[in-house]
């Protein structure tokens, strides 16, 4: 058991941290958010240069052979800086689908394009009726000459409007909530029959509702077994949960840091408000919540590669629960301890709060993951 970063990992952490401090200041991010696409292709190119976009892929596929720890390092830094670029959909989610579900030929075709920044991907999986249930897929894929035809609707597709290509899950068989009978298809966002309606989410990021009307997919763009795509998606979502748990840790750390700093410098009644014991104790509780979340983010990261799917999902649900609880508590307390200034768009802490509020719910809220965990038996025996 050890928590030490390797030499390479420490270098990665330093370089990403330095780059963001230099190139992704809060004011710069505000301008990116206000731009039409809501993210920055210039920043994306810098990420490619830094090697971040190819991080989790095997060298044989054109990547840099990073693992979950490397992704954690990057995402934690992104959480600190509130990065809004399409890293989660392209590199984490779609990246995981490609790693676990695509053929070697497909990976060799696609990974270099991701790595050099010329291909943005999105995972179009969730549907309007599904709430958080991953198997609730009604989009249908019907075999047609030399390929498939997709019809259906996908909801809350992260960066769906900006993506060059979409990874779409669709039912090739089975009843609506059957975990079997789901295939994965690579679809050009501009293909005939694809209708994209993009919009901002509450934290300023972008998502889209996407309709598919008899969209043609050639056979070479089918990813893996057309009846067994769900485990691939679930593994990708589990990796994404680990990634946003790390992102949340970064954002919580930033929120706590800003709060402590504010408590030290803001004076009322002639003294810094950080000298008031009630506020000190609440800051201490924020610290505890942060460290508990950090511990569970480690668990998620370490479980991301676990091949025992049931144990992996228990760990992810547990990590998601702790992340959600800590994120809610730290976010709310950060605003409260800042007072009015925390409520304004001009100040970073409110944006951290909003991002944390979204992370709480992304890939399933507390209730959903408690349901999963309660159904999965005891967590204690996994230790």
């Amino acid at each position: 058991m050890n928590f030490d970063l390797s030499e390479d990992q420490r270098l990665l952490k330093d370089s990403v941290g330095r780059w963001l401090a230099r190139s992704y200041a809060f004011e710069h991010r505000a301008r990116i958010l206000a731009s039409p696409e809501g993210w920055s292709r210039a920043t994306w190119a810098q990420m490619a240069e830094l090697g971040l976009l190819g991080l989790p892929f095997a060298e044989a596929d054109g990547g840099f052979a990073g693992g979950p720890v490397e992704t954690m390092i990057v995402m934690e830094a992104f959480g600190h800086a509130l990065v809004v670029e399409p890293y989660l959909p392209t590199v984490v989610l779609a990246g995981a689908v490609l790693r676990h579900g695509a053929s070697a030929e497909q990976r060799r075709r696609l990974v270099p394009l991701i790595t050099d920044g010329s291909l943005v991907l999105a995972l179009a999986h969730g549907e309007p009726q599904a709430r958080w249930h991953t198997a609730d897929i009604a989009t249908r894929a019907v075999e047609a000459a030399g390929g498939w035809r997709l019809s259906g609707a996908k909801s809350l597709v992260l960066h769906g409007e900006s993506a060059d290509r979409l990874i779409v899950s669709a039912r090739t068989g089975g009843a609506p909530r059957d975990p079997n009978g789901i295939g994965l298809f690579l679809v050009d966002r501009k293909a005939p029959g694809v209708v994209v309606h993009g919009y901002p989410t509450q934290d300023g990021q972008r998502a889209a509702e996407i309709g598919f009307q008899d969209v043609r997919v050639p056979a070479e763009d089918v990813l893996g077994d057309v009846a067994n795509g769900l485990p691939v998606v679930e593994h990708a979502i589990d990796e994404a949960i680990a990634a946003i748990a790390a992102e949340a840790v970064g954002a919580m750390e930033a929120a706590l840091g800003m709060t402590v700093n504010y408590l030290k410098t803001r004076t009322q009644f002639g003294v810094p408000i950080g000298s008031f014991q009630a506020l000190q104790h609440r800051a201490a509780d924020m610290f505890i919540a942060l460290e508990q979340a950090r511990s569970m983010a480690f668990l998620a990261v370490m479980s991301a590669a676990d091949d025992d799917g049931a144990r992996r999902r228990r760990a992810m649900s547990a990590a998601k629960i702790q992340t959600a609880k800590s994120a809610r508590f730290i976010g709310q307390e950060a605003i409260q301890l800042h007072g009015g200034i925390g409520m304004t768009m001009e100040y970073k802490v409110g944006h951290l709060f909003k991002r944390l509020t979204m992370i709480e719910r992304q890939f399933g809220d507390l209730d959903h993951h408690f349901g999963c965990l309660a159904a999965a038996g005891s967590l204690l025996d996994d230790a």
Binding site: T201, A278, G340, T344, R361, D367
Partner: protein
């Protein structure tokens, strides 16, 4: 001892409800039910309707447009308005500066200002907080210096809600720099069109524009715009803030939100299972219903207690209403977000998809209502009031 409403009180409740049903414009009702922001025009329109019915300022003295309702009827009226939900009148006028003027103001001030507050011909805002004076309000630095027949005001106010619409602002300003902190403060009424006033709107995290910074640069105000005695403004402010505290429970709003939550959770949508079938969800809903019911009864008790107290003396128990009332509004909004599920992630302000219209206002209300535990005397300040004024610590 009897906690039941009398038949007359129940009839009054029905009368208020019927009036709201008949008179509230449906567009305004819909906006409120969905937790969306009203425009100035909406509120002016509704205030005129209330005024025509004689109910714009029922809690005021009868001679200034009030209705001779006892505290229970006042409470029933507020509760029905909040539950319906219908708009409450602009509190800066009707509940803050209005009562200060009719309690401490000159006859000329009463005649000049009260009628226009009642009809919302004058939109008022509150100039108390400053960048360096939040919880420690008495640290305020804005100064009013006498120059002939005028005050000259210099300084900056912060978190001035809806100042962008305001015709008038009431400010606390320091008129005696040599006095102790709480002394030497005066309560002054200022025309927002006066030269030297500038307003900077500040966007809040829900995306709305509600608060402002207001700057005073050699603003000249007639001496007669001083309310009450010079250097006694802190007393009037305390009177005002205690009134504000009792009004902040807004139990009717929490009840309306819980009803919306139950309705949303019971509505099948896209064929997904309804949330109300989930025992954990039902428990959370029941938990909040119990707390809201308890606070409603606590509010009854505070109101019943008012009859035994001398008029105008602050009841420190009103701090309970502020603390629990704000916490319950925040908790109900959290539960609303739980009901929304993924739809809560969508921002509706601009180009959000119509499929999520049912979820409109949920998440942004959650963001917006974080203010409740901060403003009007933060909940930390209220706890200190309870510890000191009630428990004697």
């Amino acid at each position: 001892m009897d906690l039941r409403f009398t038949d007359e009180e129940l009839a009054f409740r029905r009368e208020v409800r019927a009036f709201l049903r008949e008179s509230l414009p449906p567009e305004i009702h819909r906006k409120l039910a969905e937790g969306c922001r009203l425009g100035k025009a909406d509120l002016v329109r509704w205030t005129c309707i209330l005024h025509a019915r004689g109910w714009a300022v029922p809690h005021w003295p009868v001679e200034w447009g009030g209705v001779d309702w006892d505290p229970v009827r006042q409470m029933i009226f507020r509760d029905e308005v909040q539950q319906f939900p219908a708009p409450e009148t602009l509190s800066f006028g009707t509940s803050m500066v209005g009562p200060v003027i009719y309690t401490f103001g000159s006859d000329a001030q009463k005649r000049r200002f009260l009628p226009r507050i009642a009809t919302l011909e004058d939109w008022w805002c509150q100039g108390f907080s400053e960048p360096g004076a939040g919880s420690d309000l008495a640290a305020l630095k804005t100064r009013a210096t006498r120059d002939g027949a005028q005050w000259v005001i210099n300084g900056q106010k912060a978190w001035t809600t809806l100042a962008q619409h305001a015709d008038w602002i009431f400010v606390l300003a320091r008129t005696d720099g040599s006095a102790r902190k709480q002394q030497g403060i005066s309560f002054i009424l200022i025309d927002m069109t006066s030269p030297g006033i500038s307003v900077r709107p500040v966007q809040t995290i829900d995306g709305g524009f509600e608060v402002n910074e207001v700057f005073f640069d050699d603003v000249r105000v007639p001496l007669e715009n001083l309310v009450g005695a010079e250097n006694r403004g802190w007393d009037y402010a305390k009177f005002l803030l205690t009134n504000e505290r009792s009004g902040q429970a807004r139990i009717g709003l929490s009840k309306a939100r819980l009803r919306r939550i139950r309705a949303l959770a019971s509505t099948p949508r896209n064929g997904a299972p309804v949330l109300i079938e989930d025992p954990v969800f039902r428990r959370k809903l029941a938990e909040l219903e119990v707390e809201v019911r308890a606070l409603e009864l606590t509010q009854f008790r505070v109101i019943a207690d008012e009859r035994h107290k001398e008029q105008g003396r602050p009841n420190p128990a009103s701090s309970i209403l502020k603390i629990k009332g704000s916490e319950l509004q925040q908790a109900t909004t959290e539960l609303l977000m739980d009901v929304l599920g993924p739809a809560g992630l969508v921002r509706h302000a601009e180009s959000g998809p119509a499929a999520f219209d049912w979820a409109r206002g949920g998440t942004s209300t959650y963001f917006n209502l974080r203010k409740l535990s901060i403003y009007g005397g933060s909940n930390e300040i209220q706890r200190t009031i309870i510890a000191r004024a009630i428990l004697g610590l």
